[in-house]
Symmetry: C2
DNA sequence: CTAAAATGTCTATTGATATAGACAACCATA
DNA sequence: TATGGTTGTCTATATCAATAGACATTTTAG
């Protein structure tokens, strides 16, 4: 376990960033749970085969993220360590999915627009390109920390008031209910990963280089008619998905 | 579509690498299918808001990967374009999942070991920690390109010869069949994303900073008894997962 | 109280990254 | 064959990333 951890040079990714990513991951998997601290800078420098200053740059980045806190004379303490689990099933819902993993969840409506459906959106919602849809940009929190940012499209003919309803209830499920849709199911989910865009970095309180888990999902009513297509971006170091079959 | 594409400075990730990643992704999603070429260097430089030399560094990296080929006087041609789709269902199998997306698939056995189950492995396989398991490290190709690397554990009592059988058939499904297990189902799948380790980078022919989609999966026989626990790492820019409910 | 161990700060040097400008070489086509 | 558009090459400069060493400051343990 204490073997030589490797980093690669001249790849366009700074060593301090590679090291920061490794340490963040190690914290997430509980590697330092016994002490609650990161190993000393000199030890890390030896393990990664780099200068102590390079390790310090990595730790400074993690401190900026609020993951660790350095205390002179003592060491570098782990402040935060979290990874929420999201079950993806036929009955996937954001708030219910978090369940007892957080005490308080919120849903913030960042933007609402009525627009013509793009080819992609039209295909998923079973519309013709250009047909009117409502687009919502939402940001979801768990215990006051941003967890995911989502862009959702709804057929405008059926769900014209979805934005207002979401703003009131802070929940898609309740907004649907107010508009007369009492139940819906997850039809399909596509999962990918990518680096975050600038806008997503800011809203999700991430640092550049961070990874997103991206879920493209389509929900239908009980008759199989598409009611929502959404692209949700999750901070990869804060969540994982679980698919139960 | 021709809007300002964004890159971030002072993040520890070189601009040329960020740009290379964006272009690779754009190629993968078919953004340049009409011409079969990447836009001219001067146009890309304008779109990303960087110097032309920086774009050239990015394109050089993609050329090194064999994704594009620059031709003086004409432009930069797209050589290869790939993103495989993996359905995750109760009947998930690697080879069958690829289906007609590739002509030839191979499964290479990198390593085989018999060992005591760790706490995590024991939990998933329903064993006591320390009970004997067989661990296989496998590398799967589609059309001669590495797609995923997997670590799998099997109860040693029941599947002692799984390594030999896999080496012969290059398929878990066929190896199971040889050992008397004619059918099995996917019980649960956990999906996360992370930066690749050095070993995975090499085997999957990736550059540092590349993102992995990680699927932790547990398969059972038809009686619900666990037969396999595996951690598969996929190059995120080459694959996506689809969950149909 | 002292020593060891840990983080904090400073200076200096080297190589990688990014910008800027100029011009050569090559290709397609009018 | 002339021209415009494209990639290839060169020089120069400024900033970031990484190494190296020295020493200060703080905490913990003996």
């Amino acid at each position: 376990m204490a073997g030589l951890k490797q980093v690669q040079r001249q790849t366009g990714v700074a060593l301090w960033r590679q090291i920061a990513d490794r340490i963040r991951e190690a914290i997430g998997t509980g590697a330092y749970d016994e002490t609650g601290m990161v190993p000393p800078e000199t030890v890390l420098a030896l393990q990664f085969g780099v200068n102590r200053h390079t390790v310090r740059s990595a730790l400074a980045a993690l401190a900026q993220e609020g993951i660790v806190r350095a205390v002179q004379g003592r060491g570098t303490l782990i402040e935060r360590k979290e990874r929420l689990n999201f079950p993806i099933t036929r009955r996937t819902r954001f708030t219910a999915g978090i369940g007892d993993q957080a005490r308080e969840t919120r849903g913030l409506l960042l933007d609402e627009a009525r627009e013509g459906a793009s080819a992609e959106v039209a295909r998923w919602l079973g519309l013709k390109p250009g047909e009117q849809v409502v687009r919502l940009e939402t940001l979801r929190h768990a215990d006051k920390r941003p967890v995911s940012k989502a862009t959702s499209w709804f057929p405008a003919a059926r769900f014209a008031g979805i934005g207002e309803a979401y703003r009131k209830h802070e929940s898609i499920t309740k907004a649907f209910a107010e508009l007369g849709l009492s139940d819906y199911v997850r039809a399909t989910t596509e999962v990918t990963a990518a680096h975050a865009s600038t806008a997503d970095l800011a809203d999700l309180e991430l640092t550049p280089g961070a990874i997103l888990l991206i879920a493209k999902a389509m929900n239908t009513d009980l008759d199989g008619v598409p009611v929502q297509y959404s692209i949700s971006r999750f901070a990869a170091d804060r969540v994982q998905f679980t698919i139960e079959n």
